[in-house]
Amino acid sequence: MLRFLLQRLLTAIPTLLVIATLAFVLLHLAPGGPFDSDKVLVPQIQHAIESRYHLDEPLWRQYLRYLGELARGDFGPSFQYRNTSVNELIAQGLPVDAAIGSAALLLALLLGGATGLVAATRPGSWRDQLPMGLAVLGISIPVFVTAPLLILVFAMRLHWLPSGDWVAGSWRHLLLPALALALPYTAYIARIVRAAAIEALGQPYIRTARAKGLPTHVIVLRHALRPTLMPLVSFLGPALAGVLTGSIVVEQVFGLPGIGRLFVTGALNRDYTVVTGVTVLYGALIIGFNLLVDLCYAWLDPRVRART
């Protein structure tokens, strides 16, 4: 197991290097620089600004400097937010995304999981068809539609919840963004759980359990749940990544100070260090999540454990 873990961590390094290099090159290829503005600068000031951020150096040297800093875990200074490092920006923004992302995923797992299991116990009945119909709707409607609609109903009409802004630790400010982000995942999870549970409930050992006279909820929770989780776990890796990148839209709509918003303004303002930093961070998180999923597999399925 330890060897497997080390192997995966080692392969992550070249992957991250490729991500970092691509981000660096693509961003520098984009026309316009971070300090282009409609104000005209005195050449000496322009030079002072460029040398402050080493933009006056040849690109290869900037690249090596960037890699060196990256190796030390330093993403460098932000170009758009003067006097602020990218690490600080990420440290400020990541907790926001982590809170929304984890709340969204928890909501999606609870709502989607329960709906899927209920639907699987009575396939073809209204308890199956209604939630599955809603799930298709949930998958089809993008977040940038649901988020403003949630604001319209819960903030503007009912005045129950705030229409945006971020107050750390306030569930009222967390709920709408988390819900907006959770809806499509709830739908996916409901469908995955339903399909897996139907398959599991058709297995011979379930028949045995039924023959023993066990009640349905015990059969579902004790015997059918674990095999049902397998496809769900493989979905969770991409879902975690999706929740992270999907939060870019949610942040924009709700005006939240997360790293997704930072990423968008960074790209528009050619804030090289912010964009490369956030890209590498996203890359590292996705690699990390996938690794977690593989570890979960091993825990859930003894056959996978034996192979590793």
Partner: protein
């Protein structure tokens, strides 16, 4: 997802919404509210620094207006008023100004001294500070030479003969100096805070400031919270206890206003004007703004180089009233000349502006033919503008007018702002978006864009007569004569069709009826220190 997609959804969502119970309600009673907390929106994407020497964006300027005060401050009427300086006098030639400071204090209780201004200004022009605004202090003696590294910062034309006197020496008479002194780059700075904390001095825990409010919280890209500064010299007249700034895009600002989460928005989408007015009534506020929406013309390359007739045909063929009424919802004023209306300035509106539409179109067609174009050989031209739905509507309409009135094949083409900026500076574009917001209420801020060799002269316009008039105005001590010279210069621009002005901007705010103390002004700067809330507020 693009921001515009979200805005479209919001628009639909808002269209389905009836106003909240408090949204359109008139203010009840005149008594001030117990909780004086103002929630203001600023446009998202700004607020990149709140260091007065560094900051250049509008959202940060609002916050800085509340945190700091210069020798003068913007009065409630939008005109410069005494700030840290309680009085001042000028030399006969208008080149030396002496300011006498009042007993003002920093937020830590220390006295604001003349040396604090000298320190701050030197820091701004010092090339090591790498301030985008070093050039804004150009009217001050030696400022440019220092910024260019040719002189030491001590040579800057600002001195402190004693603790309560600031002496400023200018390179030329600068009638708009009092207005410049209200800007962030002219604030004093507290040297011990900068020495102790370096770049971190702008953090809430370290900042020492001298304005009406202190910095309580600063989330980068997020909320900024200010509280009343009891050490401010005029604190007795400041009624707000707290100001919360929220950076939001336009659609979100309107949403939050309807949700009752905002008292004062920075802007709203022009296309929503009629709908918003029908629901919010007098809470929709618009007034003239110091900015123009101009189509830049590159006179250094074909088809416009040496072809005044073609430029004339294009400017004549634009129906500005139609554009303003139907495309910009009647919010803006049509423009025939670059400088927006300013008090005491005679705008040299070209004679053709008064022609009836049919006669103007006929004249446009004659110029078009004289330029060598006709139905068989139409002008093909690209019209580049930065991505924005408001820009798109305007340029689509202009292209349609040219097509209908002249037969020109114009293709509006949007691109990212920085890409366009780059192409513009390299003079690669024939026609381009050239809007400009004035730095101070004076024609010069608009007219210098067309000066030979000026860094932002992206159309490459050059006329020695124009340059000579600008230079003459620059050394003119008499304010009336100076404005007359600038007006003559602007008439030359119009004669040469150096650009195609379309309209002048207007401010766009949603302001709750219970918010008092603000006034519309041409610079669109509303200091929170004058505002207060009446009792009818919902939050």
């Amino acid at each position: 997802m693009s921001a515009s997609a979200a805005s479209a959804i919001t628009l639909l969502a808002l269209a389905a919404c009836t106003p909240g119970h408090d949204a359109a309600a008139p203010a009840a009673g005149g008594a001030p509210a117990a909780a004086q907390v103002l929630r203001r929106a600023v446009d998202a994407g700004g607020m990149r620094s709140i260091d007065p020497s560094i900051s250049t964006d509008v959202p940060a300027a609002h916050v800085l207006d509340d945190l700091f005060e210069g020798l003068t401050r913007l009065g409630q009427d939008g005109e410069p008023a005494p700030g840290v300086a309680e009085r001042w006098e000028t030399s006969a030639d208008g080149r030396v100004w002496t300011f006498h400071l009042r007993a003002a204090r920093w937020s830590n209780g220390a006295a604001v001294q003349a040396g604090d201004f000298v320190y701050a200004w030197r820091r701004t022009v010092d090339p090591r500070t790498a301030s985008d605004y070093a050039e804004a202090l150009a009217p001050v003696r030696n400022a440019l030479a220092i910024a260019e590294g040719r002189m030491d910062v001590t040579a800057l034309g600002i001195s402190a003969p004693d603790e309560r006197t600031v002496r400023i020496e200018l390179t030329a008479p600068t009638p708009f100096l009092l207005s410049l002194l209200t800007k962030s780059y002219a604030y004093p700075q507290y040297e011990p805070a900068l020495r102790a904390h370096g770049d971190d001095w702008v953090r809430p825990e370290f900042m020492v400031n001298n304005g009406a409010f202190r910095l309580l919280e600063y989330v980068i890209g997020g909320r900024v919270t200010l509280v009343k500064n009891d050490d401010y010299w005029d604190a007795a007249h400041v009624r707000l206890q707290r100001v919360v700034y929220l950076p939001l895009d336009r659609a979100a600002q309107t949403e939050r206003f309807f949700a009752g989460d905002l008292d004062f928005t920075e802007s709203f989408s022009a296309e929503q004007t009629a709908w918003l007015r029908s629901r919010l009534g007098a809470q929709v506020v618009s007034a003239p703004y110091l900015g123009n929406f101009v189509l830049g013309v590159n006179v250094t390359r074909p088809p416009f180089a040496g072809n005044r007739a073609l430029r004339m045909a294009l400017t004549l063929a634009v129906d500005r009233e139609t554009l303003v009424r139907y495309v910009r919802q009647g919010l803006y004023q049509p423009a025939w000349t670059p400088t927006p209306p300013l008090p005491g300035y005679r705008s040299p509106v070209p004679a053709w502006a008064a022609l009836p539409e049919a006669a103007r179109h006929a004249l446009a067609r004659r110029y078009y033919a004289r330029a060598g174009y006709n139905a068989q050989h139409p002008l093909h031209v690209e019209l580049r503008y930065p991505t924005d739905s408001d820009n798109r509507r305007t340029y689509e309409a202009v292209a349609a007018m040219w097509r209908t009135n002249l037969g020109v094949v114009a293709e509006p083409y949007n691109e990212e702002f920085r890409v366009q900026l780059n192409e513009r500076h390299l003079k690669q574009l024939a026609l381009f978006h050239y809007a400009w917001i004035g730095d101070y209420p004076d024609p010069l801020t608009f007219l210098q864009l067309f000066q030979t060799g000026f860094g932002y002269n992206d159309g490459g316009y050059s006329n020695p007569r124009y340059d000579a008039l600008l230079a003459a105005a620059g050394s003119e001590a008499d304010a009336t004569r100076r404005l007359a010279e600038l007006s003559q210069a602007e008439a030359i621009l119009n004669e040469d069709v150096a650009c195609i002005p379309l309209y002048y901007y207007a401010t766009r705010h949603l302001i709750r009826s219970y918010v008092r103390g603000w006034t519309s002004n041409i610079q669109d700067r509303n200091l929170s220190q004058y505002m207060y809330l009446l009792r009818s507020q919902a939050h």
